[in-house]
């Protein structure tokens, strides 16, 4: 329930159901939560519009390009209105131009919808845009962790690790 209702996940390798439509993929967390088909489709279209993929709703998920796939995955993460989105190398599989689009999308969500982002990345530029960062070397916290904005502010934060 925690994973389904509170968290959204964005994976580097996308992980989708290959022969299902884009809409069905996006609505998967809702289906698992037991939401009815009509409401599922409505919410699915809503989040697809948010990531500008509404026109691809009926396409097969595998037919999308890399950037579109990542946006679809973000839409899936958004479907259940999560409070936190965990993104594992969200730009790792994308070229820099598409990567920028996806990153902008994530930070817009943080700014406008108040969703906390936890991003795992090797990309220094992406890490620099986050409020706090923890450097991890071989599984343990290393020196060089910074907090750009004091945690006391308690606004939805972006953290990179």
């Amino acid at each position: 329930m925690l994973r389904n209702q509170t968290f959204g996940f964005v994976f580097q390798q996308f992980f989708m159901i290959p022969n299902a439509t884009v809409l069905d993929n996006v609505a998967l967390p809702l289906a698992i939560a037991g939401v009815g088909r009509r409401e599922r489709n409505a919410r699915g279209m809503e989040v697809l519009a948010q990531v500008e993929l509404a026109d691809k709703a009926a396409n097969r998920a595998t037919a999308l390009s890399g950037g579109q796939k990542q946006r679809m995955v973000i839409a899936r993460a958004l479907a259940n209105r999560p409070r936190v989105i965990f993104a594992d190398e969200p730009t790792g599989n994308l070229d820099s131009a598409t990567g920028a689009v996806v990153t902008d999308l994530l930070f817009t969500l943080n700014a406008l919808e108040g969703i906390t982002l936890v991003i795992v990345t090797h990309d220094e530029e992406l890490a620099a845009r986050c409020d706090s960062r923890c450097a991890i070397t071989d599984g343990s916290l290393a020196a060089g962790s910074t907090t750009n904005v004091p945690m006391a502010v308690r606004r939805p934060a972006t953290v990179s690790a």
Binding site: M1, I17, I32
Partner: protein
């Protein structure tokens, strides 16, 4: 995910790998087809026997014969050693040389004194030689010892009545030989029946045909009226020494008890105490039914073996499916799908495959069974009117489908449990 959603998803998933699903369904199809067909044979034959039994009329009739004291062995002795000879006990040799005990008029009177026995009629056996019509050829002819009690398929005319004079029912097989164009033409016609007495003289008696009968499972030969039978018996007994004339191997008796209850057993016990053995038609058929059930049981076992083999096919198919969809399962788990629901999802896939195979198998069995029954009824077994060799009982059909689905569920538990147990992190990492 609610149950409806799980079933919908599972159904859709089974069609994702069409060839694999088709092959598994085919294996189940073969098992379900065999099982339905063998079941159908059992149902068909049992139904036929039941109809024949109900034609035999009253269930409250026993066939009674006399038993020798002690258990008679092959040499006429018993387990207590040789039996002391009793000159008053009349016995006869049966055709295979065994000594059998016969009933005399004194026995018949004695039987009536037994509690529960209301009416006793000896089986008068008549050995007829021939039947002929006018100056036409003579044909070998046998009489059914069962007599008027049988309710037969009457093709034309009417069944026998108790007050009938010397009349008979002609079996359909004699129509052409006796030069009758159709069954209706035979009704009312007169035929001659010949018997030979012990001295070798041939007696010919005229009899009228009142009806035409279909062949039956019980007893070959024609059914003749009691008055004709006693007339023929008297002619046949001409020249026999006194004391050998009125002996009977068996008699039929009506009893006052509900058939199949302890009342019936009480009558049998009383008979046994008096030295007689009573068997109802149900007892005699019990042997036949047991044999048929055993044969059908063995055939069913083959069907079940095929289904068990198909069950391994289901396990294999689903294990491959779980393997292939490991990352998808990991995704679903990471999105909050519970173990129970994942188990239900894969189990539903197994049950759906079972349903597909069994439904197709049962439908095919009904179609093939119908064709085979029609062919057999018009061909090799045309003589047994009303026989449907393969009949289908809706409850048995549903039971087959239910059994296969249950089997499929059991086969699906292993792969489903494997899917449910997967760790989401490992599953997502799986290449």
């Amino acid at each position: 995910m609610n149950l409806g959603e799980i079933i919908r998803t599972a159904t859709a998933n089974t069609f994702r790998s069409r060839l694999r699903t088709t092959l598994t369904v085919l294996a189940i199809f073969v098992g379900a087809f065999t099982l339905s067909l063998t079941n159908g044979v059992g149902t068909g034959i049992t139904a036929y026997i039941d109809t024949q039994v109900s034609r035999m009329g009253a269930g409250d009739v026993m066939i009674i014969n006399k038993v020798a004291p002690g258990t008679v062995d092959m040499f006429g002795g018993s387990s207590e050693g040789p039996t002391v000879h009793d000159p008053d006990r009349v016995s006869a040799l049966s055709s295979d040389g065994m000594r059998i005990q016969v009933l005399t008029d004194a026995d018949l009177a004695n039987l009536l004194t037994i509690d529960g026995i209301t009416q006793v009629e000896p089986f008068v056996s008549v050995m007829t030689d021939f039947i002929s019509r006018g100056s036409g050829a003579k044909y070998d002819f046998t009489v059914n010892p069962g007599g008027a009690g049988l309710n037969l398929d009457i093709v034309a005319g009417r069944p026998l009545r108790e007050d009938d004079g010397p009349v008979l029912l002609l079996p359909v097989s004699f129509l052409a030989a006796l030069d009758f164009a159709n069954p209706e033409a035979a009704v009312g016609a007169s035929v001659a029946i010949g018997v030979t007495d012990v001295l070798g003289n041939v007696h010919v008696t005229a009899a009228d045909i009142v009806g035409v009968q279909e062949a039956t499972l019980f007893g070959a030969g024609a059914i003749i009226s009691e008055s004709l039978k006693s007339a023929l018996h008297d002619q046949q007994s001409t020249g026999m020494p006194e004391g050998y004339r009125d002996v009977y191997t068996t008699a039929s008796a009506h009893f006052e008890a509900t058939p199949g209850t302890s009342g019936e057993d009480a009558v049998k016990t009383a008979l046994r105490a008096a030295g007689y053995n009573g068997t109802t038609l149900q007892d005699q058929l019990g042997v036949v039914t047991t044999v048929i059930n055993a044969v059908v049981g063995v055939l069913n076992a083959f069907g079940i073996i095929a289904l068990i083999a198909a069950g391994f096919g289901i396990i294999n198919t689903l294990l491959m499916s779980v393997q292939e969809r490991t990352r998808e399962i990991g995704l679903m788990k990471s999105l909050g799908m519970s173990r129970r629901r994942l188990f239900a999802l894969f189990s539903s896939e197994a049950i759906f495959i079972g349903f597909l195979g069994s439904a197709l198998g049962v439908v095919a069995a009904v179609v093939v069974g119908g064709i085979v029954s029609a062919y057999v009824a018009n061909g090799p077994l045309a003589g047994l009117a009303g026989l449907r060799i393969i009949a289908f009982d809706p409850i048995a059909i549903l039971a087959v489908i239910g059994l296969v689905m249950a089997l499929a569920f059991i086969a699906g538990t292993l792969p489903a449990a494997r899917a449910a147990r997967l760790d989401p992190i490992d599953a997502l990492r799986y290449e």
